[in-house]
Structures are given as C-alpha cells and as structure tokens.
C-alpha cells in the first residue's frame, strides 16, 4: 500500500519528459564542452577559452555586470522595502504595486528606450548639456547593461525582502527593544538577520537573471559578455564550435553556484517567526516633513524605475525620436503597422505561452502530489531536477536543443530542433521551477485530512485527486499558470536560437528583430507595449487569484 501503479506510471512519464528535454540536452552541452572529438575527455577547449582575451574579458564582464546589478538593486530595494513595511504612509502601497511593474517588461524591450532617455544623446543628457554643460555616461557599455538590469530586476529583492520583513513577528522586535536595542542596533542585529533569507533569495535570483540575460546586451550592442558570446559563436560559426559549449558550461556552473550559495546561506536557518497573533513589524507613523521627504525620494525612484515603460510608450507613439528630448510628433501608425504585419507574433505568443504554462501546471501538480502525498522512491529527484532548470540559462537550453534535436527530422523533413513545439517545450522547462513552487505551495495548503475524509467515505486515490485535491488547488494552479504564461510570453534567449522562420516567431522575437533597425523601433516599441499590456494583465490576474486564495485560506484558519 505504499504506492499505486498509477503513481508509478505518472512518475515514469515525468522522469522521461525531464530526461528527454532537460537532462539529455544539457548533458549533451556538457559532453561536447569536454569532448576532444575522438571520444576522449579533454580540457583543451577550456584552455582555449581562457587563453583568448575576448573570452576572459567576457567572463569578467558578465561577473562584473551581475555583481554590480545585485549591488545597485539592493541599494534600491533595501530602503524601499524597509520603509514600506515599517512605516505608515501614503506612498507605501504605491511602491508595493508600482515597484513590481518593471518585472512585467523584459529588460531588452526597454533597453532601446533607455538609450533614448539616458544615452549619450538621450533626453537627460541633452537637457544636462544644455543647462549645465556636462553629461553622464549612464548608458555607455557595461554601465548601460547594469543600469537596465538593475531597474528591471530589483523588484525580485524588493518583493522577497518585503515578504520577509512582513513575516517578522513584532514581538521579536519588541523583545529587543525591551532589552535596550533601538534604531540602527535593532535593525542590524535583529531585523536584518531575520529578513536575511528573503534578501538572499532575491539577490541570488537577480544574479542568475542578469548573468543569463542575452537580450539586453545584444540590444545595447554589448557583445563582450558570456551569453552574447555563446549565442554569437553558435549562430555565426556553427553548432560544431566548442567554445559556445564551454561558455554554456561556465554559465550553468555559476548559476548553480549562485543557487547553491543562497541555499547554503539559508541552511539551518528557520526564520518563520510569525507566531499566533503576531505578524509584521510594528508600523510607525511618519511626521509630515518625513512623509514629504519619503514621498519625494519614492517619486524619484519610481520615475527612474518606470522610465523604460515611459520610453517604450513614447517610442511607440512617436514619429521620429533622435537627438531630441522628446519625439518630434505623435502618431498611431506603428500600432497600425504592427496589427497589419505582425499579428502572427501575437497569436504565436498566446499559443506557445499558453501551451507551455499548461504543461507546467500539469507537471507541477503531478510532481507536487508525488512529493507531498506519496513515498515513491525518487520523488525528491524529480523535484530537484525540475528545480535545477532554474540554473539553466535560455541560451544553454537552446544550444542543447539544437545539438540534440537537429539530427532528428520530422516526417516533412524539418529538423525537430526548429519545430515550434520544441520552443513550447523549452518555455515549459524554463518556467517549470516557478509553476512547481506555486503548485507545491497550493498543495501544502490542502490539509491532508481533506483527502483522508474522501478516502474514508469511499473515494479511491484517483477520484480523491480529481474531486478534492485539484479543485482545492485550483487557485494556486491558476496562479502558477499565469506566472508561467507571462514569463514565457517574453522569453527571448532560447527563442533567438530556436526560431527558424518568422511565421513561427513569438512577440519577443518580433520585438528583437524590429529593434535591430532604426526604422523598426517604432513598431518594435508598439509590439513591446502590447506585450507589456498582455503580461501586465496576466500578472494582475495572478496577483488577484493569489490574494483571493490567501483570503479564503485565512477564512478557514479562523473557523
């Protein structure tokens, strides 16, 4: 009675899927990086890599950009999180809502607009030059990448840190105050250490995201970083060039290391500190002048944070925008152009992201059930493997798929690697970790007695899952679906490698291609705005669903 044949069959299917579309392709990449071409193992490709100054520089640059982005994102997120959780004032809700907005636009979309706003001849520098006679090189080279990535990914730290701060029982703080700690001491010795898990989780995520990002450097014309180098080697020299694989292995290794370091930093630190009747740091009211100062600071930050969106929007409705503070005139023709030429992109995106998200939810629910409700041997491995996808950059997965599936031909002679379904699977694998966590959290909320009651009344395992477990998990599953959907909808790195023809391409690819030419920027931005609206609506929906779920479970907890 430890497991049923049905459970074993499901586990086997899941294992086969993960093996075929995650383990084997990534394994192929690693294999090629270490292969001497004659069946032996060699480090010569790695030596080549480190002997070439361009690659050494790329390696250093990727690190530098990821590290600096984490630093600046922390500097941005830390005060915002602390002030909003800690104090009662009007801006708090504004930050918590507007602060997540950068997440709903992939950084490469905003990158062009950022150049127009903050570049050498961008709005800001034109104004500065005109009135003060100097300019700031915010967008030059690596600075630009760091700036764009920071603005886009700091919400990961903000969200995680705010949640962690909100989870600190005020009694913890009061106990420290009671012992005589206050102000900076209180923050440094009690509040921050308790919130550390949230911060570390967010910071690790930012590091990985920036390290993996391909679109932003490409759009900003920065190629001396790892992801662009991998992409360029594979697309210009070909699938046989080992350097692309070496770079892939290095990227995977450092992403894994970042995940591992964050797990290590949190190991053995159980910081769930909300006790009965507790909840959240004590909130203090701000004096009017403090309130004004805080608001001013927040507005400044929000203007910077929202500038990519403003820029993209202006770009999408501007006629010509070059060497001027604002566009010369305004028009809707870019939108018309997009709807005339490129509705295929939108349709493809809806199809691909929808399918990928559906796959994620089904797999996520199945794995969650196996982990939490069975004692099947190897169930943890499924979890680990699925979660490890987090550490596989899109470029690497793309290269792996090309390598593994290029030789496989469909009945019509097309290589499997460029079949659109492979793109869907790549999205599904890339987003699986998020959907999985969402499903696991949802199943955690379902008290096991709910299922035992059904079994007690005569329902078998399958019926119980169908009639009790899935309906009760529905909110969390839907939230997982939306999360997968919105992030898959703007995925670029794997897309760039796996799209073979325009007819199969999704929005992200379309935006990227448009943005390559000056004339295409308008339509590209219009497509970007459409993507943002799409993703924004999805994010809002998932937020509402999660809130409703939380509200309902709090109702149940209160009975």
């Amino acid at each position: 009675m430890r497991w049923t044949t049905g459970q074993i069959a499901v586990a086997a299917l899941l294992a086969a899927f993960l093996l075929l579309f995650l383990v084997v392709p990534v394994g192929q990449v690693i294999l090629v990086a270490f292969s001497d071409g004659a069946g032996g193992v060699t480090l010569v490709h790695f030596q080549d890599f480190f002997r070439t100054s361009l690659f050494r520089e790329s390696f250093y640059n990727s690190f530098y950009v990821a590290g600096m982005s984490v630093l600046f994102a922390s500097a941005l997120a830390l005060p915002l999180a602390y002030f909003t959780v800690r104090f009662h004032f009007r801006g708090a809700i504004l930050i918590q809502t507007l602060g997540v907005i950068p997440l709903i636009m992939p950084p490469f979309v905003g990158a062009v607009a950022m150049q127009l706003l903050f570049g050498r001849n961008g709005s800001l520098n034109l104004l500065l030059d005109q009135y003060f006679g100097f300019t700031i090189p915010i967008m030059q080279g690596l600075n630009g990448v760091i700036f764009v990535e920071t603005i886009h990914y700091f919400p990961f730290i903000l969200l995680n840190l705010s949640a962690a701060l909100a989870n600190i029982d005020r009694a913890m703080e009061e106990a420290a105050q009671n012992m005589g700690a206050s102000g900076w001491q209180l923050f440094r010795r009690i509040v921050f250490p308790l919130a550390l898990p949230g911060y570390v989780a967010g910071a690790a995520l930012v590091f990985i995201k920036v390290f993996d990002d391909l679109g932003t450097p490409l759009v900003l014309n920065v190629t001396n970083m790892l992801a662009p180098q991998a992409y360029l080697r594979i697309t210009s020299i070909g699938l046989t060039d080992p350097i692309g694989y070496v770079i892939s292995v290095i990227m995977v290794a450092f992403s894994l290391a970042a995940l591992w370091a964050s797990a290590l930093a949190l190991k053995g630190k159980e910081y769930a500190t909300v006790q009965r009747g507790g909840g959240g740091l004590a909130k203090r009211r701000l004096k009017p002048w403090e309130q004004a100062a805080a608001m001013a600071l927040i507005i400044l930050i929000l203007i910077v944070v929202l500038s990519p969106h403003i820029g993209v929007f202006l770009l999408s409705i501007g006629t010509i925008w070059s060497f001027s503070v604002l566009p010369d005139a305004y028009t809707l023709k870019h939108y018309i152009a997009v709807f005339e030429e490129s509705t295929g992109f939108i349709g493809n995106t809806l199809l691909y992201a929808g399918l990928a998200a559906a796959i994620d939810v089904v797999i996520g629910t199945a794995i969650a059930y196996l982990i939490l409700r069975t004692r099947l041997v190897g169930r943890q491995t499924l979890d680990y493997v699925a979660t490890a996808a987090l550490a596989i950059p899109g470029v690497v997965l793309g290269i792996g798929y090309l390598r593994t599936f290029y030789g496989v031909e469909l009945p019509n002679g097309q290589p499997l690697a460029t079949f659109w379904v492979i793109l869907v699977i790549a999205y599904a694998i890339r987003r699986l970790p998020y959907a999985l966590r969402s499903c696991v959290a949802a199943l955690h909320q379902v008290h096991i007695a709910m299922e035992e009651a059904a079994e007690n009344l005569g329902a078998g395992k399958a019926t119980t899952v169908r009639r009790i477990v899935v309906p009760l998990m529905a909110g969390g599953m839907l939230a997982g679906f939306v999360t997968s959907f919105v992030t898959a909808a703007v995925e670029l790195s794997a897309t760039l490698l796996l799209v073979a023809k325009n007819a199969d391409a999704p929005i992200a690819y379309g935006i990227y291609v448009y943005m390559q030419t000056a004339a295409g920027r308008g339509p590209g931005a219009a497509l970007g705005v459409i993507a943002v609206v799409l993703v924004g609506a999805g994010t809002y929906l998932s937020h509402r669903l999660i809130e409703r779920e939380r509200y309902q479970s709090s109702l149940e907890a209160n009975r």
Binding site: H447, A449, E452, A454, E455, L457, G458, G460, I468, E556
Partner: protein, 365 residues
C-alpha cells in the same frame, strides 16, 4: 433531532490484535490489543503523543502497522484500503471540503457508493435533519459556525451508514460551552443509531462523561481498560491514578498480616477489609475529596484522624476549596466542598486529616 432513526446502522464489534506501530525509529504502539463491543461507546484516552490517534487512524486504514490486525465483526480489514472499509471517521479539523456545499459534502460518500439518485437525496436529507441542519444544505462550510461544521462532519459520516463511527478529538476546536453541548448531542446520536463508536480524546472529563468503557494509553501500551468510574476508583497503576484525577500518593510498606499500610511518616493506615494482598505495594493512593479535614485541637490528632498537617495555601475553585497541606515533608491535596458563607482554613492553620480505609487504593509497584 427526529425521534426515529432514519438511517439504519448495524452496530458491530471491533477487535484490535497485537498492533505495533513505529515511525522510523520511534515506536508508537507496542502489542496493543483490545475489543470494542457492538453498539458500545468506547474512548481512547491518553496524553498527547501516546498513540491514541494513530490507533484510531489505523482502524480507518490510514498509516501502517508493523504487525497485528484489525477486525470489524469477524472480518479482518487490515489489508483493505481506506475507501473499502466502511468505517466512518470524523476528523479533528472536520475536513469539510470548502469548495463543495453542505449538501455536496454530505452526498459525497453516497455518490462514491453509486447510490441511486432518489435514495441519495432521501438519505442526505435524513442525515442533515438528524443534525438539525436541513436549512443549511446550500451553504458552504466557511459560512457555518464551528458547532455547525462539527454537525456537518457528523452527518457526512453517518449518511454512509458506517459499521463503526470513529471520532478523532472532534470537540477540540470548540469553545468550552459548545464542547459540553456537542458531546451530549454526539452521545444522543450514537445511542439513537446504535452505532459502535470509538472516540479519541486527551480530556479525561470528556471521556468519563461519554464513554461506556475506555482504554488509557501511555508509553506505547494500554495502561488499563474499563468503565470510567471503576477505573477512577481502582486505577491499575500510578499513571492511571494521576491521569484520571488528582491523586495523593504516600510511600511506605505493606503489612499484609495486620492489613495495615505503614507510611514513611510512621503512621499506620487501615486498609479496606476485602483487599487482595497478592501484590506487594509500596504506595497507597487516595483522592483529595477522600480527606476529612478538621481544625487541630492539640498535640495529638483528633479521634479517627491519622495525620497532623499545616495548611500551606488554599485555592478557591468555586465549587470546592482546594488545600495544599504540609504533612511531614510531603504535600497532600484536600478538596472540601464549598457552600455559601462557609469559612475556610487560612494558610498556616494546623489541621488534622482523616482518611477512611475504603478510600485507600494500593498501587502496584
């Protein structure tokens, strides 16, 4: 609640034979055996972590026993999955499904049994009527109070006409007043239907009040099985004595021939006439209300009293005054019923204590 039983339940016995359960290295139950008679209201009583819930869940088919078997009537059910057992269980958290209406919650078990539509409707209605919630059928669990949810959980279990009704601390989520009311309702329902019921609780008052018989579990084994009052008066060991109420325990030695117990303080206590001296007890037990307390008159105890003591403190509990009395190096508890206007012995008062032989229980070593 209606007068006649609309659901037909056959009370059958439950037999548990040599059940042992371990979770990894932790042994939870060891060679537990007991028999529950048909139609009986039986309780598993014990402190938290004693394995009483584990044992109950085992009857329902949740969890695994390392060895032993469970029989319902004469049929062994140890190998059956939970959904084929036909034992109804009421969960501590009620486990009402929040996404289904009250009606759908109650109908679930009948749907699983493919009961024809008309009969299903009749039985669901009867079950809801039985617990007085017919008017609430269209609501959802979250819209009901704790007591109402408890009734729904009962109706949902009873509607399948289970052979045995299992209740896992069903009242622990209710407030004190409702708890007493619900336990009356549960007993009434059980008597009305004649269903065999097994009730798990850590509250000895609850078990005493409702159970025909009960088993006290502690340290992985059954400490004693019996009728509540018999066990209170004749606990099998010190644990049972102390778990079922307050026990004053005196150490000393048994003088079997003289039918005396000589306490460590040197006082000889007469033992009940009909006591069997097969075990050599070194401890004697009596309840706080067995002590007769009088104000001390002089250097020797008043006639009939055995001990002289001094009141350490007095706790007023409403219906009784509870004294802690220092006797030699020991503290004894004495309960004296309180009646309006009566005075009491303040701290430091010297008192004499008398205990009748019939109130003494010799505890085995």
């Amino acid at each position: 609640m209606s007068a006649t039983a609309p659901l037909s339940v056959q009370g059958v016995g439950v037999t548990i034979e040599n059940i042992s359960v371990a979770f990894g290295e932790t042994r939870v139950l060891e060679n537990v055996s007991l028999t529950v008679n048909p139609g009986e209201f039986f309780a598993f009583l014990g402190p938290s972590g004693c394995g009483k819930s584990t044992l109950l869940r085992l009857i329902a088919g949740f969890g695994e026993a390392q060895n032993g078997r469970v029989l319902i009537g004469d049929t062994e059910i140890s190998q059956l999955p939970p959904w084929k057992r036909n034992v109804g269980m009421v969960f501590q958290s009620y486990a009402l499904w929040p996404h289904l209406t009250i009606w759908d919650n109650v109908a679930f078990g009948l749907e699983q049994r493919r009961v024809p539509r008309e009969e299903l409707a009749r039985r669901v209605e009867a079950a809801l009527d039985l617990v007085g919630l017919k008017a609430y059928a269209k609501r959802r669990p979250a819209q009901l109070s704790g007591g109402q949810q408890q009734r729904v959980a009962l109706a949902r279990t009873l509607v399948i006409e289970p052979q045995v009704l299992l209740l896992d601390e069903p009242l622990s989520n209710l407030d004190a007043k409702l708890r007493v009311q619900m336990r009356h309702e549960i007993v009434e329902l059980q008597r009305q239907l004649g269903v065999t019921a097994i009730y798990v609780t850590h509250d000895q008052e609850e078990a005493n009040a409702i159970a025909d018989r009960m088993a006290i579990l502690h340290d992985r084994v059954i400490q004693q099985i019996g009728v509540p009052m018999t066990m209170y008066d004749n606990p099998a060991n010190a644990f049972v004595a102390q778990f079922l109420g307050i026990a004053n325990v005196l150490e000393g030695e048994l003088l079997a021939r003289e039918q005396l117990f000589r306490t460590r303080l040197g006082v000889d206590l007469a033992l009940p006439k009909n006591l069997a001296f097969n075990n050599r007890g070194r401890r004697v037990m009596f309840r706080p209300q067995a002590i007769a307390l009088t104000g001390a008159s002089g250097s020797a105890p008043v006639s009939g009293a055995q001990f002289q003591g001094r009141v350490r403190d007095a706790e007023f509990l409403g219906n009784i005054m509870r004294y802690r009395i220092a006797v030699g190096d020991q503290l004894l508890l004495a309960d004296v019923p309180h009646r309006r206007g009566e005075s009491y012995f303040p701290a430091n008062t010297a008192v004499d204590l008398a205990i009748e032989p019939e109130q003494l229980v010799l505890l085995p070593d």
